[in-house]
């Protein structure tokens, strides 16, 4: 199953903020985590993560810092700001509303027909 572009774009911000809520991280590790959490189904080009992180930084949701990795290479670490935590909480409420609605609209025995339709969306 391939998740639609718009849905990936919409989910990117809360997912990234949510991962950073567990503690600071850097781009490569964030992508690894997304791949691991979604079983490889939520994926986008690796590079696209960085403009997103920059936007979040400009908006003040995350702060960044260059640090030396163990390998001696410089790495830019990102961590959630207080404001970012608030935004995350807010997004979480929004998504849970959407999730609730979807689960009510689609009963559990939705059947393969519906799931197929969603998958192709």
């Amino acid at each position: 199953m391939r998740i639609g572009k718009d849905l990936v774009a919409a989910a990117a911000t809360p997912v990234v903020l949510g991962i950073l809520a567990d503690g600071e991280s850097y781009g490569y590790a964030i992508l690894q985590r997304i791949t691991a959490l979604s079983g490889g189904e939520l994926e986008w080009s690796d590079g696209m993560l960085y403009p997103l992180l920059h936007r979040l930084e400009r908006q003040g949701h995350v702060h960044s810092e260059w640090r030396q990795a163990d390998s001696g290479r410089p790495r830019k670490h990102y961590r959630l700001s207080e404001q970012g935590a608030a935004v995350l909480a807010d997004q979480r409420r929004q998504w849970s509303v959407v999730g609730d609605v979807l689960s009510k609209v689609w009963p559990d025995d939705g059947g393969p027909r519906l799931r197929l339709a969603f998958g192709e969306a």
Binding site: Y26, G27, Y28, W44, S45, D46, G47, M48, Y50, P51, L52, H54, R55, E57, R58, Q59, G60, H61, H63, S64, A69, S71, R73, P74, R75, K76, S81, E82, Q83
Partner: protein
């Protein structure tokens, strides 16, 4: 042509031949260097971004090498996974619109909606493209800019000759000249018809108000001279208001359908700042040239002063509006380096000047009795300070962490706030003493707007320094106020004159 497939890229490195993975480090360095070379052609991606992407790339390579791939193979996969260079560049350009703005030069003239990120092409083939372009599109549309500039100059002259009255020209200067700038934006940036219609309505409305209200000619000339100045205060206020309102209306043609987008508005602010710098430079150069001309011709006994005064000056001053606008588009890279320098030079100077003003005002405390001119001068200082603030925000890299300059700016804001409060108190006292006049009410309103701006800007600035808020909040606040300025300017033009009886 655009570089599309990054997978071609390691092939350019001769050392990347298969069968030599053992000398891995040197090999990888060469591959990375070649990759950086490719990416650097995209202006939306700067060196810090490349460092970050490179770090990512190397992590991915490590991962795949430890999974058993050779360095070459791992590098191929890693680059591929970063995504297409063009897509990536477009994504960066979308986020870093200040870099995109810089890039509009290179992407040049091939597509109309220049505000869209899609025009982010590498500049390597600009020359080739230049040869295919129709004449009026060459050199970033310089021929069109010159034609429009000549049109603006001739329009000024035509109105002057038709009415025989310089004060009519002075009153209508924005209505006469700025439509040509709006046309330039309409041509360059292709806003939708709806936006253009709104701009047109604003121009028409301001033009009607300025000319239907009896600003000129109501007074009979006393000394028999034909020079009838704009005698009333409301007339001068309306003229100033029309310049501000129409400049912002022209900005609407600039941002087009993105008018809700704060980044697009910030682009226009950036444009305005750069335009101002260029205009001043052109004016200085033009002034020097005119004076030299007059002096040289005077030395051989020919008086060209009337010609310079009556033709060169008005035509040049109006035409330079368009030329400066063209320059901003064509030479952005140059000014790019100047803007941050200018803000860094003048912010400290203005801060010192205002601190001195505050001290002087507190020591003397005679502002209430002070003349009206003094209060207007204070107002002008505050306007310049806010202009400087907005210009600094537009010239700043939003991703930089707060530094000494931002602290200095907070100090400047705090000083300006104190100054504004002093002026406001003095004004209220004056108004209490002498009653409302058009001038006093206008500057009172301006002061209130500035006060609100400064209070909130200072709050945001402190929040930014303490890293509570992002830089985006500062940008958003300043661009949110643009319609407020427009509204106040429009009120000055339309509402004030009748309310104050055209006094």
């Amino acid at each position: 042509m655009p570089i599309d497939e990054p997978r071609n890229l390691p092939g350019d490195v001769p050392a990347g031949a298969p069968g030599a993975p053992r000398d891995a480090p040197a090999d990888l360095d060469a591959l990375v260097a070649s990759w950086r070379g490719w990416m650097q052609r995209h202006d939306a991606v700067n060196a810090a971004d490349l460092d970050e992407l490179e770090s990512h790339l190397l992590d991915t390579v490590d991962h795949f090498v430890s999974a058993g791939l050779t360095v070459d193979e791992a590098f191929l996969v890693a680059v591929k996974r970063l995504g297409g260079v063009d897509d990536l560049s477009r994504e960066y350009a979308r986020e870093h619109s200040e870099r995109l703005w810089k890039q509009l030069v290179l992407s040049g003239d091939d597509d109309g909606p220049a505000g869209s990120a899609g025009s982010a092409l590498p500049g390597g083939d600009a020359e080739a493209a230049g040869r295919r372009l129709p004449w009026y599109r060459r050199a970033n549309g310089l021929p069109v800019a010159l034609l429009l500039g000549a049109g603006a100059g001739l329009a000024v002259k035509a109105v002057e000759l038709a009415t025989g009255d310089p004060s009519t020209v002075a009153l209508n200067i924005a209505v006469i000249v700025l439509p040509f700038l709006a046309l330039w934006f309409a041509w360059r940036r292709r806003p939708s018809i709806a936006v253009l219609a709104i701009v047109g309505v604003v121009f028409a409305g301001v033009g009607l108000a300025l000319n239907l209200y009896p600003f000129i000619g109501s007074e009979a000339d006393e000394a028999g001279t034909t020079v009838a100045a704009i005698s009333s205060a409301t007339g001068i206020l309306a003229m100033l208001g029309s310049i501000v309102a129409l400049w912002l209306a022209t900005g609407l043609a600039y941002v087009g359908d993105d008018w809700r987008d704060e980044r697009a508005r910030m682009d226009f602010v950036r444009f305005s700042g750069e335009w101002f710098v260029y205009y001043v430079l052109i004016a200085l150069g033009g002034g020097a040239l005119s004076m030299l001309t007059v002096a040289v011709f005077a030395s051989i006994g020919v008086d060209v002063m009337p010609f310079v005064g009556e033709w060169v000056l008005p035509l040049g001053a109006a035409g330079a509006v368009l030329v400066a606008a063209w320059l901003v588009g064509a030479k952005q890279r140059v000014i790019e380096n100047i803007a941050p320098v200018l803000t860094k030079v003048f912010t400290p100077l203005f801060t010192i000047m205002m601190l001195a003003l505050v001290v002087a005002a507190l020591v003397q405390w005679n502002l209430v009795d002070a003349s009206r001119d003094l209060l207007i001068a204070f107002d002008a200082v505050l306007v310049v300070v806010v202009g400087l603030l907005v210009y600094s925000i537009s010239a700043r890299d939003p991703l930089l962490p707060p530094g000494w300059f931002d602290r200095l700016q907070a100090l400047m804001l705090a000083t300006a706030l104190v100054l504004d409060a002093i002026v406001l108190v003095a004004m209220l006292a004056r108004t209490g003493e002498f009653g409302f006049s058009a001038n006093k009410t206008a500057s009172l309103g301006l002061n209130l707007i500035l006060l609100v701006n400064l209070v909130w800007a200072l709050r945001l600035q402190l929040g930014f320094l303490r890293r509570h808020t992002g830089f985006a909040a500062l940008e958003r606040w300043q661009t949110t106020l643009l319609p407020v300025y427009f509204a106040w300017a429009a009120i000055l033009v339309v509402v004030f004159p009748p309310v104050f009886g055209f006094a």
